[in-house]
């Protein structure tokens, strides 16, 4: 009996789908102490832990779980914070099923250990008990500038500060957090309770954050390195402008990019009456795309009171979103129109959206991404009635930094070119995260920030050793 029980993970409590569809409170309620300790008991403590290899920031997973099992939460937190500056975030938004949990031996026969939920428990415990990462103050004096306060920048800044560097983060928006603040919704990642606290944690390490500074416009990278006396710069400026499909009707009133829709709602808190920024969310919303951003936009529109359809050109197996997001979206009543692709957005004489003409797709031969290429089925067009369309098709890099930094190499897609150590074509200038890879995940951006922090440390050590 015990053996069979061990195959299943301890289920995590969630808000009832019917209730949460009408509020912006967090969906997942997390483990209690008992649940966390019980789940920790499922870890086999492999000698050669595959989970650690699956983690982009190489958290010593079996070690923190072992401490958790012994109810030594202090130690569990210390182990995690050695590798991650943002555990409360990662425990919530990492695609664990393809990373740590995807590698877990338990997962071969039964459920993988619920590593993400355990990490979240430890991080939340630390917050509830006012445990912070160890504070350091710039003992080396060397200055490093970090551009962007998203997951990549916060990680890089945190790691450098721990080594005693004097780090300043420059943030273009009025609030620190990057995509954690403007992109990921409250119901998945609470802003005040979690994100603001994680940012505080990084500040506690001695990192300064200057908001409202647009690098490339307010000040250039060259100026940072010369006039402002920084020894190195890390570019973690994130993804940029939204892509559109270039189909008829796309400029009509009621067509939004997911970036705009989510920024209004998350950063500007348009869903709350006490904030001034408006949001126009109709009664029937179609979200185009199948990634995490599409799920976030769809579930936000649902909470604003709309009936929501997700239109995606491939099948369910190819949906790039985390499984948990798709599962949650379905539970909440979002409808998936799969193997369907928009052809035209229909409008009335005042240019308001009235519907969308779509075409059925079927899967053909695999394309460059390895996924089967969707091909339109001739003559299968039909119309969907809707008053709002949200395009969640990915982004193109923001040109602000590359166009104002001489000698900074970019690739065909206009992403900044950086090698595996995060070095760019300019000495002393490092880059990582979405600005380099194009839109990816929070944890990959954090991994890049971590790698770059190491490279920056080496670079500065070498620079001063030579003098």
């Amino acid at each position: 009996m015990a053996e069979i029980k061990g195959l299943k993970r301890v289920p995590v409590r969630e808000q009832d789908p019917k209730v949460r569809a009408t509020n912006f409170d967090e969906v997942c309620l997390g483990y209690s102490e008992e649940e966390a300790v019980e789940e920790a008991g499922r870890c086999l403590h492999c000698k050669n832990p595959k989970c650690v290899q699956g983690c982009p920031v190489s958290i010593s997973i079996p070690e923190f779980i072992a401490a958790l099992k012994l109810k030594d939460f202090d130690k569990a937190y210390d182990v995690i914070s050695e590798s991650s500056s943002l555990p409360a975030v990662c425990g919530r938004v990492c695609p664990q099923e393809t990373q740590c949990e995807g590698q877990c031996i338990r997962g071969i026969k039964g459920d993988a250990v619920s590593i993400g939920k355990l990490e979240r428990f430890v991080a939340d415990w630390a917050k509830a008990n006012d445990r912070h990462m160890k504070c350091y103050r710039g003992r080396q004096g060397h200055k490093v500038a970090v551009i962007g306060s998203g997951p990549s920048g916060l990680t890089c800044a945190g790691d450098l500060a721990k080594q005693g560097y004097d780090v300043t983060i420059f943030e273009a928006l009025h609030k620190a957090g990057g995509v954690l603040v403007y992109g990921i919704p409250e119901f998945r990642l609470p802003k005040d309770k979690i994100v603001a606290k994680e940012v505080e944690n990084v500040k506690c390490l001695g990192v300064k954050i200057e908001t409202n500074v647009i690098i490339g416009r307010s000040v250039t990278i060259e100026d940072l390195l010369t006039k402002e006396g920084f020894d190195a710069v890390y570019i973690g400026s994130g993804a940029g402008l939204p892509m559109f499909m270039n189909i008829p009707g796309e400029q009509a009133k009621g067509v939004f990019s997911a970036n705009e829709f989510l920024t209004r709602n998350n950063l500007m808190k348009a869903y709350r009456d006490d904030y001034d920024t408006p949001i126009e969310c109709g009664k029937k919303v179609v979200v185009v795309g199948g990634g995490n951003v599409a799920m976030d936009a769809a579930r936000t529109a649902l909470r604003l009171g709309a009936e929501v359809h997700v239109v995606y050109r491939r099948s369910e197996a190819e949906l790039p979103a985390r499984k948990e997001e798709v599962h949650h979206a379905k539970e909440e009543g979002i409808q998936f129109d799969l193997l369907t692709n928009p052809v035209e957005i229909l409008t009335d004489d005042k240019d308001n959206v009235t519907g969308m003409k779509v075409i059925r797709m079927e899967l053909g031969e695999p394309d460059a991404s390895g996924r089967r290429r969707p091909v339109p089925v001739e003559g299968s067009e039909f119309e969907i009635e809707c008053d709002t369309v949200i395009m969640a098709l990915g982004t193109r890099p923001n040109p602000l930094i590359s166009s104002t930094t001489d000698g900074l190499e970019t690739n065909r897609k206009k992403c900044i070119v950086a090698d595996e150590k995060g070095e760019t074509s300019l000495p002393g200038v490092f880059a990582g995260g979405d600005a380099v890879t194009g839109a990816a995940t929070v944890i990959l951006a954090m991994g890049a920030g971590k790698t770059a922090a190491k490279s920056i440390d080496e670079y500065i050590q070498k620079k001063y050793a030579a003098q």
Binding site: A172, H174, N212, F244, Q251, T263, L267, M268, P399
Partner: protein, 294 residues
């Protein structure tokens, strides 16, 4: 936080504000804008820069309160602080990137409408400081709404026109421009800044005369830094973003009709919010939003 050094009511409904923002003042150029936000709950408001003082680190803004956020801004006084002030944003005017010798050969006319007179002043002043002459047409509905005339006269040849003829010439800016051309003025470069409808018709006029025309677009924006895509326009058949590709574009290529439609998107919500804000505790429900229970 950014300190307000001076704040005053200008002509009609317009306000002028001097703000301490050294980083912005150090690098801004004519044509660029800033994002201003008042309070935690405020909107991000894009405002084009009117003037700047690099040494003192000061930015001057002129704006017309039209909604809740701009009205809230207008209630701040000297010594108060603005919560957020980000910039400079957008591309500087093409004029600032043209060799001075080339500029001196150009015959430049600015067409300014309403509160658009302020950003025109910034450009005319820059040209004047670089020894380049220009003509400026200031258009307003009526005499009381003519702004910055004296300042403008110090940096350019000014022609004022009012729709009702209460001051200066009579008629819209397009008529004034055509009259000036008929009077023998020759122009090969026009910069037009004002309400979209005015820019549209100015472009139709300059097209007739083959005058290259630049307009400064003011679509709806949220972040203003090249992220959200709200400010997209169709220019020359392509999607362009006012916040990073603009705000200035070749006026003869801008799809104004589309831009004007998109600008009305939040009109109802903004109107309702403004009413609720203005009436405060006494709000009687005329907004149609709250069910009249407030």
């Amino acid at each position: 936080m950014y300190k307000i050094l001076e704040a005053r009511n200008l002509a009609g409904p317009n306000y002028e504000m001097l703000v301490e923002a050294p980083r912005v003042a150090a690098r801004c150029l004519p044509g660029q804008f800033v994002i201003v936000k008042v309070g935690e709950e405020g909107e991000r408001i894009p405002l084009t820069i009117t003037d700047y003082d690099r040494e003192k680190g000061i930015i001057e803004l002129v704006y017309q309160p039209i909604g809740v956020s701009t009205s809230r801004l207008s209630q701040l006084h000297e010594g108060d602080f603005i919560t957020d002030f980000a910039g400079p944003l957008g591309q500087p005017s093409d004029l600032t990137r043209t060799p001075i010798e080339e500029l001196k050969k150009k015959k430049i006319v600015f067409v300014a409408g309403g509160v658009g007179t302020a950003p025109v002043y910034c450009q005319a002043k820059w040209l004047h400081e670089h020894g380049v002459e220009s003509d400026v047409i200031i258009g307003a509905k009526t005499k009381d709404l003519v702004m910055l005339e004296d300042k403008m006269k110090k940096v350019a040849n000014v022609y004022v026109t009012t729709d009702d003829g209460s001051y200066g010439r009579t008629g819209m800016v397009t008529r004034c421009l055509e009259d000036l051309i008929a009077e023998g003025h020759v122009y090969d470069h026009c910069v037009c800044i004002g309400p979209m409808i005015m820019m549209k018709f100015t472009c139709l006029t300059t097209r007739k005369y083959g005058i290259h025309t630049v307009v400064s677009m003011n679509p709806i924006m949220v972040d203003g830094t090249g992220m959200c895509g709200a400010c997209r326009l169709i220019v020359g058949g392509e999607v362009r973003f006012a916040c990073v590709d603009g705000p200035e574009f070749d006026g003869h290529l801008v799809d104004f009709d589309l831009a004007m439609k998109r600008q009305t998107l939040y009109k109802t919500k903004e109107g309702e919010a403004f009413l609720a804000w203005k009436e405060g505790q006494t709000h009687s429900g005329g907004c149609g939003q709250c069910g009249g229970d407030k």
